[in-house]
């Protein structure tokens, strides 16, 4: 869903440009919509990004340790991922009162009379997103524990490499 929204954003901003130049009538609120959307897209997409292993890490050394001494590697993994869980919980603790505050206080973004949008949805998405990320980190811990006991990891999903797919198609 978050991914589809990027496409909508593209159309919206393009439309804004066209309207501004051709009809001299810009859309109001595009700036605000984009601002809200960036945060929303980020937090909805983050857990899945971690799941397919795309969150930045320098895994050359870690990968080698995991191959040579799976025992050491998995314990390191548990520590790494536990840190992820802990931090996400910290952000949720910080963010939970903020979204309730925004919700009950009726906070909004934008300029009164031009374009306004309530503030609580993006605050709420942040909490949800961090929650999903915490769960995903936790699942990685489970994988590491399974690794310690010699069991295969839980099911995995691989990201599609769109560039390679595109090149291969163009060569057909």
């Amino acid at each position: 869903m978050a991914s589809g929204w990027i496409f909508v954003l593209m159309l919206l901003v393009t439309l804004d440009i066209v309207l501004r130049f051709v009809f001299n009538a810009p859309l109001s609120g595009v700036t605000e919509i984009v601002e809200i959307s960036i945060v929303t897209i980020l937090y909805l997409q983050l857990a899945h990004t971690l799941k397919v292993g795309r969150v930045t890490r320098s895994d050359a050394l870690y990968g080698r340790i995991l191959m040579k001494w799976p025992w050491v590697g998995n314990i390191m993994g548990i520590v790494f991922h536990a840190a992820g869980v802990g931090l996400m919980i910290a952000i949720i603790i910080g963010g939970w009162p903020k979204w309730l505050q925004a919700y009950h206080g009726g906070h909004f973004v934008g300029n009164t009379g031009v374009f306004t949008f309530p503030e609580w949805p993006q605050r709420f998405v942040l909490v949800i997103g961090c929650g999903m990320l915490a769960i995903q980190f936790f699942l990685s811990i489970v994988d590491n524990i399974r690794g310690l006991m010699g069991k295969p990891p839980l099911e995995h999903e691989e990201a599609v490499d769109v560039e390679v797919a595109a090149v291969e198609e163009s060569q057909r």
């Binding site: 978050a2 991914s3 990027i6 496409f7 954003l9 593209m10 919206l12 901003v13 393009t14 804004d16 440009i17 130049f21 984009v34 601002e35 809200i36 960036i38 945060v39 897209i41 980020l42 997409q45 983050l46 899945h48 990004t49 971690l50 397919v52 795309r54 969150v55 930045t56 890490r57 320098s58 895994d59 050359a60 050394l61 990968g63 390191m76 790494f80 840190a83 992820g84 802990g86 931090l87 910290a90 952000i91 603790i93 910080g94 963010g95 903020k98 993006q122 605050r123 990201a159 599609v160 769109v162 560039e163 390679v164 797919a165 595109a166 090149v167 291969e168 198609e169 163009s170 060569q171």
Partner: protein, 445 residues
């Protein structure tokens, strides 16, 4: 412990944790959290620092620039324009010795002008130009080295994600940085072509098997209609994105949207886009965006922590006392970046090093646009150097020819890395290379 000591320890701990393989954003967030907690002795402040960064950092219209340019780049690849740029460049250079290598470089430069990610160029050209060069008897080592070397053009020639991220950290204009990337980008392209010419004439055995060097010269010229059909979409895209920014018609974020839209239209018109494929592209855009923004957020936690620790100010004092000249400072900076580049990815390095160095450089009144270009080139050299050249790993994983080893790619890329260093030194000595066009634009507005 003083804030200063905590700051220093935090940097060492951070590099260590990144090196052993913890997720980079988690490292940055963790170090900042613990650092603030220790300095302030209050966990509530640390928690609220995390939340403020998480909620406020990327909530700005300017950050829309990242997903939109990523989307544009992926759509351009999906429309098959990588292949087109290679065909055009090969057609133009088919009568030149070493022309296939130069064609790879030039095609990368053109492709870079319509996409923003180095890694995209590395993937695309590993599949397109490596087989072509091998077919004509070029050495595998030279072929992959050329692809690795020229893929870094993607980050220097605008639009470029690295330039965008630098602009966001340094609070400079994205448009100015884009324009500053043009001069050095062209210079680097020419330098790479020069390097290939030197290798092809001076040391032909490095480039190809004996007698194979001139084999591609009998290729037929591309018919004019086909050439036109492959060229005009690229020209239009460059005009829409760079032309629009240069003329001040719209903001970089809007340029990204317009560029993505035009690329989308071309992909649809060429019947290269199914719903399934569009969906994959959008998901991929989401992944790249989330990765980058997560890093940026974590880095903003870290720079807030540094601010609280007082490290940058202290560091500024230390450096002021040491009486280092600007040149010495910059040389030190470049050396640090290149060393970090051997272990850590480009974006993370920039997010770690730039905020610190901005404070250090503040008394010297350097032009930050120029500093950004220097940073990007220095960081990109790291993509080509062992043990962890990212571009090299990407090429290895996309390569069909499994008999070419990682070491071969690193060795093949070495002359290109040295050439980059040479260009970097030129850019540092002559700031006009990136800044001439920027000044021109500034004087127009």
């Amino acid at each position: 412990m003083t804030g200063f000591e905590i700051g220093v320890i935090s940097i060492i701990a951070m590099l260590l944790l990144i090196y052993v393989g913890m997720h980079v954003p988690v490292v940055l967030a963790l170090i900042s959290f613990v650092g603030v907690w220790i300095i302030k002795g209050n966990i509530k402040i640390a928690i609220s620092l995390l939340w403020i960064s998480a909620a406020k950092t990327v909530s700005d219209f300017l950050f829309g620039v990242i997903p939109l340019f990523v989307l544009m780049g992926l759509l351009v690849s999906a429309a098959g324009m990588g292949r087109d740029t290679y065909d055009i460049a090969q057609n133009a250079l088919r009568r030149v010795r070493g022309g296939l290598g130069m064609a790879t470089v030039v095609a990368n430069a053109i492709f870079a002008a319509i996409t923003g990610v180095s890694i995209a160029s590395a993937t695309v050209f590993t599949r397109i130009s490596v087989p072509e060069m091998l077919r004509y008897g070029y050495n595998g080592r030279f072929a992959v080295g050329t692809v690795a070397g020229s893929s870094v053009l993607g980050m220097l020639i605008p639009p470029s994600i690295l330039l965008i991220i630098f602009a966001l950290i340094a609070e400079e204009s994205v448009g100015d940085l884009f324009i500053a990337g043009i001069g050095p980008g062209i210079l680097l392209t020419l330098a790479f072509c020069g390097l290939i010419a030197i290798m092809a004439y001076g040391f032909p055995s490095l480039v190809a098997q004996p007698g194979a060097l001139d084999a591609h010269m009998d290729q037929k010229k591309m018919p004019r209609g086909e050439l036109w059909r492959k060229t005009y979409p690229i020209v239009i895209l460059i005009l829409v994105v760079l032309g629009g920014i240069y003329a001040g018609l719209y903001t970089p974020t809007e340029a990204g949207a317009a560029g993505a839209f035009v690329a989308f239209l071309f992909a649809v018109a060429r019947r290269q886009l199914t719903f399934r494929k569009l969906w994959d592209i959008l998901v991929e855009t989401g992944h790249i965006t989330a990765t980058l923004l997560f890093l940026i957020i974590a880095a903003s936690m870290y720079s807030r922590m540094l601010g609280i620790s007082g490290l940058p100010t202290e560091l500024g004092k230390v450096i002021g006392d040491a009486q280092l000249s600007l040149t010495e400072l910059l040389v030190l900076y470049v050396v640090i970046l290149i060393i970090l580049g051997t272990i850590i990815d480009s974006v993370s390095i920039m997010l770690i090093a730039v905020p610190l160095y901005l404070v250090v450089l503040a008394p010297f009144n350097v032009d930050l646009v120029w500093f950004g270009v220097v940073t990007v080139i220095a960081v990109e050299i790291g993509l080509l150097t062992p043990p962890l050249g990212l571009a090299v790993y990407v090429i290895k994983s996309t390569l069909v020819q499994k008999d070419i080893s990682l070491a071969d790619i690193f060795i093949g890329a070495a002359p290109f890395a040295l050439t980059m260093l040479f260009v970097l030194i030129l850019v540092m000595i002559f700031p006009e290379i990136p800044l001439a066009l920027v000044d021109l634009k500034r004087s127009l507005n």
